[in-house]
């Protein structure tokens, strides 16, 4: 009996275990959330980062308990809005010049390299037309579908690659379709309506298209430099600078960069990414 009094009773043990479990579950969130004045952060991105940001944001929310109010768009739409009167706290934009302009106009406090994109050729499974190199797109009889009507830099970048390769006229002769949307174009390649197209690698990693096309490389020397770069920066409108910094650090961390890599981007913290940072001069002004 004496022993029984000195040891913890079953009920007490269960209570303590439940309290500890609850505390353990809540602690990381509270610890992170308590560091900051704000409990949410407005994040905008443009240029095709939405899938990656959705995954990274949900991971951040799970880790910190901070709510990310995220808006993502194609092309440079949101950047243009920010250069106008719109505001957000963190902005991940495409094209280095946009980040530099936001800095020059004192709308952005700083930016960091986030990731890079690369262009590839896509063909239907089996590659029936036997496409091997970019020049094969110019072969008579090859059915080419190009996203030439897509919002900048979509169509412009593809034309830039073809021009640099000196095959734009021959390829345009083979074009059976000039699509207005890269996402809408992909099923036409998958179905075999088109033999080949040029897209960013990220398209081939989208859940709807992954594993459904053959992916062939294009020499990097042909890539137009402008649209390759994505940056992330804190805007002057950040209500809680510490939180904005914390979020940007997380997105640039190995853990989040792995998500961007999985989604078809070249992470800034990779060897290739570091080389591109130097080559393209992705440095804050």
């Amino acid at each position: 009996m004496g022993n029984k009094k000195n040891t913890m009773g079953r009920r007490s043990f269960l209570k303590a275990a439940a309290a500890t479990t609850l505390a353990a579950a809540l602690a990381p969130k509270r610890l992170a959330a308590d560091q900051f004045r704000a409990d949410s952060l407005h994040v905008w991105s443009c240029g095709g980062l939405s899938e990656a940001f959705n995954l990274a944001n949900s991971l951040y929310e799970k880790k910190t308990g901070i709510r990310i109010a995220y808006t993502g768009a194609f092309a440079a739409a949101l950047g243009k809005s920010l250069l106008g009167g719109a505001t957000t706290e963190v902005f991940a934009g495409r094209v280095l010049k946009l980040a530099k302009t936001l800095r020059e106009k004192n709308k952005m406090v700083y930016f960091r390299p986030l990731c890079f994109t690369e262009y590839v050729m896509v063909t239907p499974k089996g590659n029936g037309a036997g496409i091997k190199t970019l020049e094969d797109m110019a072969r008579p009889g090859v059915r080419v579908i190009l996203p030439l009507g897509a919002s900048p830099p979509g169509g412009d970048a593809v034309m830039g690659i073809l021009k640099k390769a000196g095959i734009e006229k021959a390829v345009l002769k083979n074009a059976i379709e000039k699509e207005t949307c890269v996402v809408k174009m992909m099923p036409q390649i998958i179905s075999g309506k088109g033999h080949v197209s040029i897209v960013e690698r990220r398209l081939t990693r989208m859940a709807a298209f992954e594993g459904k096309v053959e992916v062939l490389p294009i020499p990097e020397t042909l890539f137009p430099p402008g649209p390759l770069t994505f940056t992330i920066g804190v805007m002057k409108y950040a209500k809680d600078r510490a939180l904005a910094d914390h979020y940007v650090n997380f997105i640039c961390s190995r853990e989040a960069q792995a998500i961007f890599e999985r989604q078809g981007f070249i992470p800034a913290d990779s060897e290739k990414g570091r080389a591109l940072i130097e080559k393209l001069g992705v440095k804050d002004v």
């Binding site: 899938e51 959705n54 995220y70 092309a75 949101l78 699509e179 996402v183 099923p187």
Partner: protein
């Protein structure tokens, strides 16, 4: 205006059931419909959802797209244009606006007979944009984003073509304040499609030979239609309105 003074609102148990079904369908299809008008980057919404860049639209991320395009033909085979009167969230919005409209236009004349085919013209336009022009993406899609903010940004980054399309649709819906259910009666492409196909339906609301053309049914119909005539959606509001009991529901024997 005098016609507005007559009893213009049907209030039968069936009408209340229909309202409940419409409200339920608003929860199911409402978000998708809203995206179709305000955030869909294509001029013809609801047809290219599976290859749409807008990530948060239910037409893309749920099986609603396939469900809709399966149920719609089945509903036409069974009940003609009942989708318009019972299931369409846009129909509900138009009917609510119609309650406040200046002119109910529940009359039969040459103009209403011709205008009733406006939906078919809307269908032809939609088919041309979709199949003829390939439904070109006409705005920079806001792929993910907060509700109202995304709508504002969608309008900011749309082409003039998309803006014209959207303001024409919204203008015709708003015109429902002048003429009741103007969009549904005289412009909706889906309504136009169902109008063409409803003649093949198995079940319908119809008039018997006892009909004396008193138009009592027309006066309670939100669509300004008589049973089994253009713009009748088999809503059933008119079932108890006939003084000679000439309105039936079921299979019409020709």
């Amino acid at each position: 205006m005098s016609e507005n003074l007559t009893k213009t609102v049907a209030s039968t148990p069936l009408t209340w059931i229909r309202r409940a079904v419409q409200t339920g369908m608003l929860a199911v299809l409402g978000q998708w419909s809203f995206y179709g008008i305000f955030r869909c980057p294509f001029p013809v919404p609801f047809v290219d959802c599976r290859v749409c860049p807008v990530i948060t639209c239910w037409g893309r991320i749920t099986s609603l797209f396939w469900g809709f395009w399966l149920i719609l033909p089945i509903s036409v085979i069974l009940f003609g244009r009942a989708f318009c009167g019972w299931l369409c969230p846009g129909g509900l919005v138009n009917q609510v606006i119609g309650r406040f409209s200046f002119l109910k236009l529940r009359i039969r004349n040459r103009w209403t007979r011709i205008a009733a085919w406006g939906g078919v013209a809307g269908l032809a336009t939609a088919l041309y944009l979709w199949l003829g022009m390939g439904n070109p993406r006409s705005m920079v899609p806001i792929r993910v984003g907060e509700f109202w903010n995304s709508v504002t940004l969608s309008f900011q980054h749309a082409t003039p073509f998309w803006l014209v399309r959207t303001f024409v649709v919204l203008g015709l819906v708003a015109a429902g304040f002048l003429i009741a259910n103007l969009w549904c009666r005289f412009a909706c492409p889906t309504g136009g499609l169902l109008e063409l196909l409803k003649r093949f339906s198995l079940f319908r609301v119809f008039k018997t030979s006892a009909c004396n053309d008193c138009d009592a049914c027309l006066k309670v119909c939100e669509m300004g239609a008589r049973p089994d005539e253009p713009n009748c959606t088999n809503c059933g509001d008119c079932l108890k309105s006939c003084p000679v009991d000439a309105i039936k529901i079921g299979r019409k024997r020709v």
